[in-house]
């Protein structure tokens, strides 16, 4: 067992308690959209300000887009603090009340992307909100079983954030035409916390110092080290 990895793992675990950003992988089965007459479809992302101040205290970075056999097409339509495109990455900032990104895509079997979202809470009663929806050729959202007309909604409260996912309602045909679409809710992978930068540096320095001391102690006490390593491996090895 490598003790250095153990020590680094300890650093990562500590960082989750001080999170100011989260990293998610979002996956969605888009196979029901292949060949659907409501095509072309668009992806719509919004990061809307809850404070009413346009304080730009949160950002959402979307990247690593994968469309299966499909891909992105056309030019993005940007509103407020939105930039980028599906071919590279998208950045949303809540610098206005409405911040929206929309771009067409060709649906493949599955859609996935990474979402790096800062989670700085508002002081007022209304949180910032990130959301994602698929629009049909009419520009309307697919009929989601959601009050938000969206597949994914993340409300950023002060000290916490709430992730909600929604399937489509297959009993309602899309406004853009064709039969109802049966899409399950997106799968949002458990957040992998990103450490606060300052805290990370501090911990990294602490870790480096500890590693350095351990290395020096290792050089001075090779026999003791072997004994400790053997004991640690014995504890970690399942019976």
């Amino acid at each position: 067992m490598n003790l250095r990895l153990l020590l680094l793992g300890l650093v990562s675990c500590s960082a989750t308690k001080m999170e100011s950003a989260v990293l998610y992988t979002v996956s969605l089965d888009t196979s029901p959209l292949i060949g659907h007459s409501a095509a072309p479809f668009s992806l719509n992302f919004q990061l809307n300000d809850g404070s009413g101040l346009g304080n730009a205290n949160n950002t959402a970075r979307l990247f690593n887009f994968s469309f299966g056999a499909g891909g992105s097409t056309g030019l993005p339509m940007l509103v407020g603090g939105a930039s980028g495109n599906l071919a590279s990455e998208i950045l949303l900032t809540d610098s206005g009340f409405l911040n929206s990104f929309t771009q067409e895509f060709v649906a493949g079997a599955a859609l996935s992307f990474s979402l790096e979202l800062s989670v700085v809470g508002e002081l007022g009663p209304q949180p910032d909100q990130f959301s994602m929806a698929i629009l049909d050729q009419s520009g309307f959202e697919l009929p989601y079983a959601s009050p938000f007309y969206a597949a994914l909604v993340i409300d950023i409260f002060d000290g916490s954030h709430l992730v909600q996912t929604f399937p489509t309602d297959p009993t309602i045909p899309p406004f853009g035409g064709g039969d109802g679409v049966s899409m399950v809710s997106p799968v949002v992978m458990s957040p992998i916390p990103e450490p606060d930068t300052t805290f990370t540096i501090a911990l990294a320095l602490l870790g480096g110092t500890l590693l350095n001391r351990y290395s020096n102690w290792q050089k001075r006490n090779p026999k003791k080290l072997r004994e400790q390593a053997t004991e640690l491996e014995r504890r970690l090895t399942p019976d």
Binding site: N44, Q46, N48, D49, G50, S51, G52, L53, G54, V79, G80, G96, F97, L98, S100, G124, P125, Q126, P127, D128, Q129, S131, L135, G139, F140, E141, P147, F148, Y149, A150, V153, D155, I156, F175
Partner: protein, 421 residues
């Protein structure tokens, strides 16, 4: 010799002493007085005119023949509707048939003035459809010969003798509103030069007035409540309103008829719903189209106001998402009972001080009793039998119209009980 503003002897006329337009002008054109200084008249009503003529008191002899000419504006007047009114001179009144002159043919009659005056007067009225010339001719005739009388004093119009002819005409249907219809006549006494009358002008007003009853609060807490209305009209202006009311789902009936007021106090019955609409009439009697649907509706509910709900109810709002499908911003509000006892309905979530740029699209109503009033609210529990148990939540979806995409802010309160919101 006949004098009528000049020398009728054939000598040179040195002056034409036509006075400025006034009631004393012996030769004058008068039309419908209409409304206001522009003399607005409705396009659907015939305009009446009178042409006054008089042999001047200073004339040295009566007139043998008098001709009244009136050229009508063919482009704005419908000549087929020209109808003669009475023809008057001295004590004589002639009433022509009440048929349009063009379809009825020229009017002609002879009046016997004997025994007061040994004279016949032949009167003819014609209308030339090509030129628009409407003409009255008065010829003096000797009863014995049927020719112009030799006696210079036995003639039609003695000095100072007055006459007047009347007629009416409709404007053309194609004439746009606010078109000026102008008219003047000329009078010829024997062989004198024509004497022109003043010009009479009217403005056509065909525009229908518009009016509406101002919106009313959803509920009234007193039986007597004010109702206001307003209207506009380009042209003669709104002259009066008729206000109609429907009681519950009954038919609309007249509440106030032809009133110039713009508000009134209506007295209703408790638990009755009243709808109102107005129909305006302008100053030349153009009337707004009749309506069938109420413009303002209210219900009389005599009772107490709803009170603020227990403080154990907390509200957690979500953020906003803009729906492309509805073009509205969507938000949820979760009401949670954090207390230890159930909170009974009905419950309403009230949004106070909502940003002016936004409106709650799916509101149940506006507060009219529980202060502050005028705030939109959405019912959370509509039944008095329903309740939120401790730990339970109720989620409301709020949809806002917000055309300018400006921030949406508001404060909240929850009203409980069956009192008025």
């Amino acid at each position: 010799m006949t004098e009528c503003g000049g020398d009728s002897s054939g000598g040179p006329v040195t002056t034409l002493p036509i006075s400025p337009v006034g009631s004393l002008d012996p030769n004058e054109k008068v039309g419908s007085t209409g409304f206001g200084l522009p003399r607005f008249v409705a396009g659907s009503v015939a305009t009446s005119y009178a042409v006054f003529f008089e042999n001047k008191p200073t004339a040295t002899a009566p007139a043998v023949d008098v001709v009244v000419n009136d050229v009508l504006q063919k482009d704005s007047l419908d000549l087929s509707t020209v109808q003669l009114g009475s023809i008057n001179f001295g004590k004589t009144v002639i009433t022509p048939p009440t048929v349009p002159l063009l379809s009825g043919g020229p009017f002609s009659t002879t009046v016997d003035l004997r025994p007061e005056t040994n004279l016949l007067v032949k009167i003819q009225s014609t209308l030339d459809a090509e030129t628009g010339l409407l003409k009255w001719t008065f010829n003096s005739l000797d009863p014995a010969t049927g020719k112009p009388p030799d006696d210079p004093l036995a003639r039609f119009r003695p000095p100072g003798g007055q006459g007047v002819v009347f007629f009416s005409v409709l404007s053309k249907a194609s004439v746009p509103s606010e078109t000026a219809v102008k008219n003047k006549a000329s009078i010829v006494f024997d062989t004198n030069l024509p004497l022109e009358t003043n010009e009479w002008s009217n403005l056509i007003d065909k525009t229908l007035p518009q009016s509406s009853v101002s919106s009313l609060a959803a509920t009234q807490r007193t039986s007597a409540f004010p109702v206001k209305w307003q209207g506009t009209d380009s042209g003669s202006g709104v002259g009066s309103y008729t206000i109609y009311v429907a009681d519950d789902s009954g038919p609309f009936t007249t509440w106030l008829s032809e009133t110039a007021a713009i508000q009134g106090t209506f007295i209703g019955q408790p638990n009755h719903t009243y709808s109102f609409f107005s129909v305006a009439r302008d100053n030349v009697a153009n009337t707004e189209k009749m309506k069938t649907v109420g413009e303002a509706t209210t219900k009389v509910i005599l009772g107490s106001c709803a009170t603020n709900a227990a403080p154990s109810l907390t509200i957690v709002r979500s953020g906003f998402r803009f729906s492309n499908a509805t073009q509205r911003f969507v938000q949820t509000a979760v009401i949670r009972n954090t207390g230890s006892t159930p909170v009974a309905g009905p419950l309403s979530l009230v949004l106070d001080a909502l940003s002016a740029n936004a409106a709650l699209f799916n509101r149940t109503g506006l507060t009219s009793c529980a202060s502050p009033t005028g705030s939109p609210y959405l019912d959370a529990l509509t039944s008095a039998g329903a309740s939120i148990l401790p730990g339970q939540t109720v989620t409301l979806t709020l949809e806002f119209t917000n055309p300018t995409n400006q921030p949406i802010n508001y404060t909240t309160r929850i009203l409980a009980g069956s009192g008025i919101r």
